[in-house]
């Protein structure tokens, strides 16, 4: 088990009073709480801060933590013999494995009503913890609906009463109609409740994997549509891929780069059997290695044309 210096995490001395610990926690919570902070690393940081505070604010847990002795952060260690039974109501004389749990699991077990907790906690219903997972699915799976494999591991007691990280796996059916960033939940698939407490829930964030051709905004799709300069100038009918198969799209004469052409009902499915739209974003593309004949024709076009796309520019200094 790796050691974590909870005092260092909260930035307080080992002799800090409860008030000092609470004040330090509140300051850090305002800075890193994932519901308050926009810091992408905030969630992981707050988890550490919350873990440190949960242990140090509780007199018994703090005493048990202090009894672990001083170690460097990240140092491998094992609690000293007799530590658990003497400090936190653990049953004495029982061998425990600390190999596949971390310090947070160990101290969380003090108040979860599990087999190792204090006697008075045994009859109190304790709800299971909620968990949150993010799964990534392809655009094709989101379009048709799909079954995804979800797996995660959480600390639970085994039949011998040892706390271990237990892997869980579910197959979840994601219906068509989800949008990128959709939240869903699996009721009762979170942590196990204790003493009749309800099992926790599993919250699922669904994110779409980047697609080779399409970008997605809500139920609409965008696709870059490269066209030649002569297709842009003269207009053309071009074949465009969609998730329902290719369609012929009429590009109007005089098309501009960045112009969006809407192909209705070719986007992602909605709840009501309708679909979003597909937008083809025009990109006028020139050949990278034009032939001599092409260069000659372009020069000829340049010579005879009076077209100036920069008439709106102002060149005087301001």
């Amino acid at each position: 088990m790796k050691f974590k210096d909870y005092y260092e995490i909260l930035g307080v001395a080992r002799t800090a009073t409860n008030d000092e610990i609470k004040k330090a926690y509140r300051k850090l919570a305002h800075q890193y709480h994932p519901d308050v902070s926009k810091d992408p690393a905030g969630e992981a940081k707050f988890k550490e801060i919350g873990e440190a505070y949960a242990t140090l604010k509780d007199k018994d847990k703090r005493a048990a933590y202090d009894a672990l002795g001083r170690h460097s952060s990240g140092e491998e260690f094992r609690p000293p013999p007799g530590w658990a039974g003497s400090q936190a109501g653990y049953q004495s004389g029982q061998a425990y494995s600390f190999d596949d749990i971390d310090l947070a699991d160990l101290f969380a077990s003090f108040s979860k009503g599990g087999r190792h907790t204090q006697h008075q906690a045994h009859h109190m219903p304790i709800p299971g913890q909620d968990y949150e997972l993010t799964t990534q699915i392809s655009l094709e799976d989101a379009y048709h609906g799909a079954t995804v494999d979800l797996s995660f591991s959480v600390p639970e007691y085994d039949h011998q009463g040892q706390l271990r990280r237990v892997p869980h796996a579910f197959k979840a059916r994601i219906p068509k109609g989800v949008v990128n960033g959709q939240k869903m939940l699996l009721r009762g698939k979170g942590g196990k409740g204790a003493n009749g407490g309800k099992d926790g829930n599993l919250y699922l964030n669904i994110h779409f994997l980047p697609h080779r051709l399409f970008r997605v905004i809500d139920h609409d799709l965008l696709i870059d549509l490269p066209i030649t300069p002569w297709e842009a100038a003269l207009g053309a009918t071009v074949k465009v891929p969609t998730l329902q198969g290719a369609v012929n799209l009429k590009v109007p004469a005089g098309a501009r780069s960045g112009q969006k052409l809407r192909i209705s009902n070719r986007g992602m499915p909605k709840h009501n059997q309708e679909h979003g739209d597909l937008f083809a974003v025009i990109q006028i593309t020139v050949p990278t290695n034009p032939t001599e004949q092409e260069i000659a024709l372009l020069k000829q076009w340049s010579d005879i044309s009076t077209f100036n796309p920069r008439t709106h520019f102002v060149y005087e200094a301001v």
Partner: protein, 112 residues
């Protein structure tokens, strides 16, 4: 490893959740949720005088804000009386972010 099938529940404005369901999902008590309704911060769908709290239904969209509120209450030891105000701000932020996202979408469509 135990593999089992599980159905997902949508969290969006088109699906509903009961008061009890909201309590179970959010971690707030029934009393705390009723206080939020009484303060006007949380609104059931089609409330009527005759409809008792057991019959209230809420848009499942509110699960996310209520759950955030529950986390903030737990992690910051919020006073019960401040929960309504906090929820109003959370909802306002959610709506503003939604509008900002929509404006970004329009700007992106017009800009190209």
């Amino acid at each position: 490893m135990n593999i089992e099938d599980s159905e997902l529940i949508w969290i969006d404005e088109l699906h509903e959740v009961s008061l009890g369901g909201l309590a179970a999902l959010s971690g707030l008590s029934l009393e705390e949720l009723q206080l939020l309704v009484e303060s006007g911060a949380l609104a059931p769908i089609s409330p009527t005088e005759e409809r008792s709290p057991e019959d209230w239904q809420f848009s499942s969209q509110c699960i996310v804000s209520i759950r955030t509120l529950s986390r903030l209450k737990r992690d910051f030891d919020l006073e019960p009386n401040s929960l309504g105000l906090m929820l109003a701000f959370l909802e306002r932020i959610r709506m503003l972010e939604f509008k900002l996202h929509a404006l970004d979408h329009i700007a992106e469509n017009n800009g190209k």
